[in-house]
Symmetry: C2
Subunit: 140 residues, 2 copies
């Protein structure tokens, strides 16, 4: 269930540290990533991602992100057991952050990252604004 929102204790009034206080763990941005890419995901879909998050961890990340209003949880249209997660606008607005991680990794971890990511990074280099807009409109 969606837990009560207990007050966040920010370390400072710095926007960077505050953002990290909210979703600066190793999993939150990967959930956002999947939702940017696929538009909607179920618990199982997230579980199947390459990074293999444990179900306990996925469960509490999804709760936190929902409490933060970065994602919303709704019922599956036909299957009552399944829930569908999507991005809110607030969550979608993290896409530029993600895009910059991609560019950095494309430059410095190039021989390690997958081909589609390289392609996406190339698009970003050629037309950052356009590429971002294209993705962000697709899901609104």
């Amino acid at each position: 269930m969606k837990a009560k929102k207990k007050k966040e204790n920010f370390r400072s009034d710095c926007p960077i540290s505050s953002a990290l206080d909210l979703f600066g763990d190793k999993w939150s941005l990967l959930v956002i990533r999947d939702l940017v890419y696929f538009g909607e995901r179920t618990f199982k879909d997230f579980s199947n991602a390459d990074e293999k998050i444990s179900s306990a961890r996925l469960s509490d990340r999804l709760c936190k992100l929902e409490v933060l209003d970065l994602i919303i949880k709704s019922n599956h249209p036909t299957n009552k057991k399944v829930f569908v997660y999507r991005l809110t606008e607030k969550g979608m607005d993290l896409f530029p952050v993600i895009a910059e991680y991609v560019r950095w990794s494309n430059k410095y971890l190039n021989d390690h990252i997958n081909e589609p990511a390289k392609q996406f990074s190339k698009q970003l280099e050629e037309d950052r604004e356009g590429t971002l807009l294209k993705f962000m409109q697709k899901s609104s």
Copy 2:
């Protein structure tokens, strides 16, 4: 001392998760932030930041970031006891990531963040490319 670089075990070939594997903790980007802002910092300078990192944690973050070649450590010109940390180009290239965190927080945590950050965010909104360039050239 600068530890041996033990092989990084990336969770996947995704550029986002890989970047998070390298510096996706709650402190690394704050060290980078201080260096973007001030150009150079000593151990004590970092310790004095608002977030109050413990010295044990600061010590191992600095080591990791140095091993990753995101920062370099050099002697203080006059004081043998003090070391000066600076960004490498690789580290400076994280500035766009940081800038996007600032924009996001300025939009969604506006009443919590400090005034200079708001000003910086405003500059970014008006001229992202120019603002980034101005900062990134300042320290090369």
